[in-house]
């Protein structure tokens, strides 16, 4: 009888106490978010990721997962500050010559690789020579090929000379180029074990890598900015998003990126409010619909503008992103210095769209509901890549909206490399929905310059405007922020008028972190920039590691 009762009690508990999830909620009744304490060493942070890193050498890695983890192991000479200014990392300071052609870096002293050897300027020039070496399969050599001369002045001084002023120069000296010379000299980087078992000088060092499952990183007690509080960082690979979200709820994951719907609808319960902290900030990414400007339909600017009027960006943001994003008006993201808020906008206006199309000669003469001109119906295909639900849904909404003004749209979803090789590179497309990942430096020469339209180059929509060409050149050849700003503001005005792309939206990043982690300070560059300063107050620590 007693046993039966306790079984029943257990059942009641399980069924009716949905809040009873996760690990250490036993600490009083108080929500974890309210409990604070002094910084303490210890505990582990489990970060959930869809993808697995491939190689932990920044200059060789092309994927986000590798960069996430390598970013904890390697530092650069400089880094972006929370306000997107550039500050020293391994460099104590630097001087730039008056003509902007020579940069001299003064390195911090006493920084050690995790194997105990001191970091010096030799490591920087070694990394530099590696990245410009034709044998190194890196995708990032472009910025470094602009360097005319690189030299080591002494153990802690490194100097580079450029042929022409190059505005993105300083920012390029991030963590791509620093490699331990004493471990890698004379070795083939691609063949060495280093990429799976790296030695860095960053806040964490790799302890174990279980392929397909997790990477375990332990804190570097000699880190030059001080020992990180959290002792262990686990990068857990969970290929399925739904599975990962279940793991978050049961304590198997402490931190992950939420999808828009998870952010808005699935993490609002009391359980989540008490046990997790959510963040939201714009990403350096924008999604757009690009037109093939060589296609007869889209040669006419009025047609492009009409389509812009027929698309309701706020609807796309509401439905696809659940409101977690902002409308894009140009190729920069809001709240950054190159962003120009005062450009021509296209509020939703189907009437105006119809009128513009009529001016351009498109009318429904045969009454089939589809506009036509010279006997040709207005029907085109939007291409997008597979596996990206947001883009897919965006295309679906645009299809629906354009049908309402008499344009028939087909959607074709293609696997990425087919898409690029067979359609983008060969210019076999009418319109595409894609996104660009942008760097905080506003130089976008490769995307908009009229000379960059050859096969495999990035101006694949074949945009050509001499004024934009001149402004792009101007913007990358001066260090004066005000002058650059003027150039990029003007470029945005022209693009908004010309509409080679319809700039759709800038999605927000929406990470979630377990509430026992304190010291997180959101900023325009995200939350993980100060990971070594995060901590878990002693009484909230969940994982206790053996020494």
């Amino acid at each position: 009888m007693k046993k039966a009762f306790s079984l029943f009690a257990l059942f009641v508990l399980v069924v009716f106490v949905p809040g009873c999830k996760g690990g250490n909620e036993a600490v009083g009744q108080e929500p974890l978010t309210k409990i604070s304490g002094p910084p303490a060493y210890g505990d582990a942070l489990i970060d959930g990721s869809i993808g697995e890193p491939t190689i932990l050498i920044p200059m060789l890695s092309g994927d986000a997962a590798s960069q996430d983890v390598a970013g904890l192991i390697f530092n650069g000479l400089v880094k972006y500050d929370t306000d997107l200014g550039i500050i020293g990392d391994l460099a104590e300071s630097w001087d730039i010559s008056k003509d902007g052609l020579v940069i001299t870096f003064h390195l911090k002293k006493g920084v050690r690789w995790t194997d105990g050897v001191e970091f010096t300027a030799d490591d920087v020039i070694f990394g530099f020579n590696t990245i410009i070496n034709k044998k190194t399969p890196t995708a990032y050599s472009e910025d470094f090929l602009q360097v005319k001369k690189a030299e080591v002045l002494d153990k802690y001084t490194f100097r580079v000379t450029y042929g022409k002023p190059f505005a993105p120069a300083l920012a390029s000296w991030g963590n791509l180029v620093v490699l331990p010379k004493h471990l890698l000299e004379g070795k083939d980087l691609t063949k060495s074990e280093f990429g799976r078992d790296p030695v860095g000088m960053g806040p964490y060092k790799l302890t174990n890598w279980v392929p397909g499952q997790e990477l375990i990183l332990d804190s570097n007690h000699d880190y030059f900015e001080g020992r990180p509080y959290i002792d262990r960082f686990v990068y857990r690979v969970i290929p399925d998003r739904a599975t990962m979200f279940l793991e978050l709820q049961t304590g198997g994951v402490d931190m992950m990126d939420l999808t828009p719907i998870q952010y808005t609808k699935q993490t609002g319960s009391e359980y989540f409010r008490n046990n997790f902290q959510k963040f939201r900030y714009p990403q350096f990414v924008y999604t757009y619909m690009g037109f093939n400007l060589k296609h007869p339909f889209f040669k006419d600017r009025r047609v492009r503008q009409a389509i812009a009027y027929a698309i309701d960006k706020s609807e796309i943001i509401d439905v696809v992103l659940f409101g977690l994003g902002s409308p894009a008006t140009g190729p920069y993201v809001p709240n950054t210095w190159p962003y120009n808020p005062d450009v021509k906008k296209y509020p939703y206006n189907p009437e105006k769209a119809r009128q513009l199309l009529k001016e351009a000669g498109w009318e429904d003469t045969d009454g089939d509901g589809i506009l036509d001109k010279d006997g040709r119906p207005f029907r085109f295909t939007i291409l997008t890549n597979m596996g990206n639900t947001l883009r897919m849904n965006t295309a679906t909404i645009i299809q629906w909206k354009l049908a309402k003004i008499g344009i028939k749209v087909d959607i074709k979803v293609l696997e990425w490399s087919t898409f690029v090789n067979e359609f983008i590179d060969k210019r076999r497309f009418e319109a595409v929905i894609l996104g660009w990942q942008i760097s905080p430096d506003p130089d976008q020469f490769d995307i908009w310059d009229s000379k960059k339209t050859k096969e495999k180059e990035f101006n694949f929509v074949s945009y050509s405007n001499p004024e934009v060409d001149a402004l792009l050149e101007k913007g990358r050849r001066t260090y004066n922020i005000e002058e650059r700003k003027k150039a990029y503001f003007r470029i945005q005005e022209i693009l908004a008028e010309d509409l080679p792309y319809i700039f759709l939206y800038v999605p927000d990043a929406t990470p979630i972190v377990h509430a026992r982690f304190k010291g997180i300070k959101p900023s325009p560059i995200g939350i993980t920039y100060n990971l070594p300063k995060w901590y878990v107050p002693r009484q909230l620590q969940r994982h206790h590691l053996e020494p």
Binding site: D240, N421, K454
Partner: protein, 332 residues
């Protein structure tokens, strides 16, 4: 008998050759190059950089030359180097001999498939016999419907439902992966227990969805055997029905099942892509999916070849089992 075995082994060689040929050409007919993933959405990559990547990987050579180079290596069990940016030897990705057994992908997939095959046989055989001896009864119908529901259920859906029930709601079982955080510090039996808890759902899902073929086959095989002369003779001799069924009928009905089990290895190995992805299990299927999506040809080829090799091996084992079980062949 040895001669027969030898003949079977010889037959494997052209089969393996055919497998490599087919998959190699299919993969290379496809457009797209592995270097594309590497260059995804990064405006800072110049076309020269791309060409350089292609040269480095011999992608500029004719397909037939690439195949020749590849085959030459394969003879030495060298599947070449992965195209992903880690550039590791493919064989090391599949079977990393420096890691503990449980962290080697081939072993993980092999172990799970072996276990679920064991579970399938343990359940399917009695169920098939029961269905056959109670042909067309209500229980037969229930058994039939149950195994077919298992077959008809989309694997990933079933897996997710079970994860929610046992992981999130009841807290009885872990949700994904093979081991817990503190696995390394557990004593031996603790490790076994931890693994068992993690493996329970994947193996259940894999076994439940794969039950139908074997149990149905057992049923019809049994039905066929039951009406053969020797069973009738056994009955006529007055042996108890139980003995007739299990001693005489069962052993004979088992023969075709052995062959079927051998053939089903391919299906099981293929199915591991799905449950390894949903459960986040670091096995060969997961690696295969990742490699396919990143056009890592050497790894794709390596896994296809090893997968086919495993299947062939399974068939061979089945043949061997058949020989041992069938007195007629054994006598030869």
């Amino acid at each position: 008998m040895l001669a027969y075995l030898f003949k079977r082994l010889l037959e494997i060689i052209p089969t393996l050759f055919g497998i490599t040929l087919i998959s190699f050409f299919i993969i290379h007919l496809a457009p797209g190059k592995p270097t594309d993933i590497f260059t995804e959405l990064n405006p800072k990559i110049t076309p020269e950089a791309r060409e350089r990547l292609e040269k480095l990987y011999h992608l500029d050579k004719p397909v037939i030359v690439q195949y020749g180079l590849w085959l030459k290596k394969i003879a030495r069990f060298d599947f070449g180097e992965s195209f992903s940016s880690d550039h590791r030897p493919v064989i090391e990705k599949i079977w990393d001999s420096r890691k503990p057994l449980i962290e080697r992908r081939l072993f993980v997939t092999f172990m799970i498939n072996l276990l679920s095959m064991g579970v399938i046989l343990l359940v399917a055989l009695p169920l098939g016999i029961f269905s056959a001896t109670h042909q067309n009864s209500l229980w037969d119908k229930i058994a039939t419907t149950t195994v077919f529901i298992g077959f008809a259920m989309p694997t990933f859906w079933l897996a997710l439902l079970l994860m929610i029930l046992f992981g999130v709601e009841l807290h009885w079982l872990p949700i994904s992966q093979l081991k817990s955080m503190g696995y390394a510090s557990l004593p031996f039996w603790g490790k076994v227990w931890d693994l068992a808890k993690h493996l329970l759902l994947p193996i259940f899902v894999s076994a439940f969805t794969g039950l139908a073929a074997d149990s149905r086959f057992m049923r019809s095989s049994m039905l066929e055997v039951v009406r053969q002369d020797f069973v009738t003779v056994a009955r006529a001799k007055g042996l108890p029905e139980r003995l007739v069924i299990y001693r005489h009928a069962f052993r004979n009905a088992l023969l075709p099942i052995i062959t079927l089990a051998g053939l089903s290895v391919g299906g099981l190995v293929g199915g591991s892509v799905i449950f390894e992805n949903i459960f986040g299990i670091p096995g060969m299927g997961q690696l295969f999916y990742m490699s396919v999506m990143t056009r890592d040809y050497p790894t794709v080829m390596g896994i296809l070849t090893i997968g086919a090799f495993l299947t062939l091996f399974g068939n061979l084992l089945a043949d061997l089992g058949y020989m041992l079980a069938d007195p007629r062949i054994r006598a030869k």
